[in-house]
Symmetry: C2
Subunit: 308 residues, 2 copies
C-alpha cells in the first residue's frame, strides 16, 4: 500500500484474525523505513517473454496432457492441464507408507496428489483483470468442475486453488494462469482456520464470515459470473491504486471427506494478497505478520479508487 | 540447493515435520521447471550502498538510542540499539485494550513490545560468517543478555531473534545485523511447535531434538563460542555451496512466563533457511511448503563441502 492517505503516526496494534486464527502486527511506522539495497522494487515491471510460451494458443503440444478445455474446440478460451513439473504425482499408487527413521516411526507418505494448471486465456498479453466478468466466471467454473472431479478420489483431503501473478509473487510463467494442488493431507493453515472459525462462533454466537457455504465447489453456477465481476473489480482497483503489483489469490475452502455436521461454521472465501513488502525471518520464525497498513485504511483507499 | 548431486527423478513424498508440526512436500521434479521472467535470480548480487550507513562505526548519532555495546568503549565490536522504525513500541502503557467491531468483541491489544537491532560488526563489508568464532559467540551472548533483560517484563510472552541476509531474504539494510522482537502474545508458529514437540514425545517416548534446554537465554555462556564456531561453519558451507545465497536464521526458543513443568519437551534451536526459490500462493494459502531437495540430500551435500 502506498503511504497515500495513511496516518503513519498512528500507534501500533496487535489484532487477532479470527479466520486465519493468528495475530497480526499493524505498525504504520514500519512504512517509513529506508533501504540501502539498490533495486528492491516489488514492482511487477518484468513483462516476461512470450516468444515460446507453452501456454499460448497454438503451442498446446508443448504442454503436459490436457484435462479439459472450454469450449471444447480448437478456439478454446481456457484450458485445464496437468502441471509438467508436479509437486505431487497422480501416478503413485496408494498414498500410505510408514517409515522408520533412526528407530523412531516417522510420518511420511508417498507424494500422491493432483497438480494442475488453469490457463486462463489463450493470449499471452491478456491478464485476468482485463477479461470480461463472464470469462472470469468461466475460470471460476473451471476450478469448480476440476475440484468436483478430484473430490471423488477418496484419499484427497484438501484442494488448494491459487494464483501467482508476477515474479515477486512466486510466478515462474508470465502467461495468465492459476493452479490447483490436491493433497492427501489437511495442511496446517487449513486446520488452524477451521478451529478459528469454530472458536469464533462459540465465543460470539456469530459467524466469522457471510451466509453459510463451506465448500467453494458447491457455490452456485449462476453466481459465478457475479463473483467473476467482483473479482475483476477488486483486481482492477488494486492494480490502479498500487501500480499493478505482484499478487497472489487463494480460494480458501474446507477439507474434503469431512462430515457436513463438523463444517457448520466453516466458510470458503477468496483471499487476495498484493505483494508489497515481502517477509523476513520474523514472519518465518513466528508465523506472525507485520503490516504497515491498518485494514480499515486499506479498505478506505480501495473504496475511493475511481475506475475509468 | 543447486541440482548438483541430486536425483531429480526421485518420486515425491510428503513428510510430517514433528518439530514445526506441519507437512512438507518434497518433490525433486519441481527443480527442473523453467521460467520466462527475465531476472528471477535469488542471488544476493546486490552489495548495498555503504556511503551513509547508520550502522557503521562513527555514525552512531544516526541511529535510534543504544541499549548496550560490547566492549563499552568507542571502539565497539557490536551494538544493540532500538529499531528506529519499530513494529511494536516500548512507549505504550499497559498492553490490553478490548475492542468492539460491528457489535462483536474483537481481540485487539495495544502494540506494546521491544524491537531492537543487533549491529554485529562495526565495519560495513564484514559479514557474520567472516567473523571469528569468538566474535560470533559475542553476538549470541548479546542476544542472551538482551532476552534476559526483556524477560523481566511481565507482559512479554515471546522473544523472536532473527537475521535477514540479502534483499531477497527481506533485508532492507546491507550492514551485517540481526533483530529481536519481543511480543505480548505467543505467536501461532510457536504454539504449533510446542504442541508438535509434546505430541512427538507422547507418541515415541523420545525427544524430537537433543538434550533438554527449553530457552536459548539459559544456554551456558561458556558454550556460546562453540556455538558461534558451529554457526560460522554452517554459514560458510552454505555460502560456498550455494554461492552466497540470501538467507534467514531464527532462534526458535520457548515462550516466557510459562511453568517449567509445561516445557519438559520444548527445546530451543537455531534454524537456518537459505532463500533459493521463494514461495507462492500455495504456501500462503495452506501453510505447507514445497521443497525440491530431500533433507538427507541437502545434508549430504553440506557434509561434503571442503572449506578452504
Ligand atoms: N509446458 C508446461 N506444461 C505444463 N505445465 C507447465 C509447463 N511449463 C511450466 N509449467 C508449470 O507451470 C507452473 C507455473 O506456475 P507459477 O508461475 O504460478 O509458479 P510456480 O508453480 O513455478 O512456483 C511458484 O509457486 C509455487 C507454489 O506456490 C511455489 O512453491 C514456488 O516457490 C513459486 O515460485 C509451474 O508450476 C510449472 O511447473
Ligand atoms: N538509523 C537506524 N537506527 C535504528 N534502526 C534502523 C535505522 N535505520 C533502519 N533501521 C532498522 O533496521 C532494520 C533492518 O532490518 P532488516 O534489514 O533485517 O529488514 P527489515 O526489518 O527492514 O524488514 C524485513 O524483515 C521484517 C521482519 O522479518 C519483515 O517484516 C519485512 O518484510 C522484511 O523486509 C529495519 O527494521 C529498520 O527499521
Amino acid at each position: 500500500m502506498s503511504s497515500q492517505g495513511q496516518n503513519t503516526g498512528r500507534r501500533p496494534e496487535l489484532r487477532h484474525d479470527p479466520v486465519a486464527n493468528r495475530w497480526v502486527i499493524f505498525s504504520p511506522a514500519r512504512a517509513k523505513r529506508p533501504t540501502d539495497f539498490k533495486s528492491k522494487s516489488p514492482q511487477n515491471s518484468n513483462p516476461g517473454d512470450n516468444s515460446s510460451c507453452p501456454f499460448c494458443i497454438g503451442n498446446e503440444h508443448e504442454c503436459a496432457p490436457e484435462i479439459f478445455r472450454v469450449p471444447s474446440d480448437p478456439n478454446w478460451k481456457l484450458r485445464v492441464i496437468e502441471n509438467l513439473y508436479p509437486a505431487l504425482s497422480r501416478n503413485i499408487e496408494g498414498p500410505c507408507e510408514e517409515k522408520e527413521d533412526m528407530g523412531v516411526p516417522a510420518r511420511a507418505i508417498g507424494g500422491f496428489g493432483f497438480h494442475d494448471v488453469v490457463i486462463e486465456n489463450p493470449v499471452h498479453s491478456v491478464h485476468l483483470c482485463d477479461m470480461e466478468a463472464r470469462d472470469i466466471g468461466q475460470v471460476l467454473l473451471a476450478y469448480k468442475k476440476r475440484i468436483q472431479q478430484i473430490a471423488s478420489v477418496e484419499s484427497i483431503k484438501y484442494v488448494q486453488v491459487f494464483k501467482n501473478h508476477g515474479a515477486s509473487a512466486g510466478a515462474s510463467m508470465s502467461h495468465s494462469h492459476s493452479q490447483l494442488l490436491a493433497l492427501p493431507i489437511i495442511p496446517s493453515a487449513v486446520s488452524a482456520r477451521f478451529e478459528g472459525m469454530n472458536e469464533y462462533f462459540k465465543k460470539t454466537g456469530k459467524c466469522s464470515l457471510w451466509a453459510h457455504s463451506s465448500h467453494f465447489h458447491e457455490f452456485d453456477c449462476d453466481k459465478m459470473v457475479e463473483l467473476g465481476g467482483l473479482l475483476k473489480l477488486m483486481l482492477r482497483k488494486m492494480s490502479l491504486q498500487l501500480n499493478n503489483p505482484p499478487f497472489n489469490f487463494m480460494i480458501q475452502t474446507s477439507p474434503l471427506q469431512v462430515k457436513e455436521s463438523e463444517l457448520s461454521y466453516a466458510h470458503w472465501f477468496l483471499q487476495i494478497v498484493p505483494q508489497l513488502s515481502g517477509a523476513g525471518g520474523f514472519e518465518m520464525g513466528s508465523g506472525c505478520y507485520i503490516n504497515p497498513v491498518f485494514p480499515e485504511d486499506a479498505a478506505k483507499v480501495l473504496r475511493e479508487v475511481n475506475l475509468p
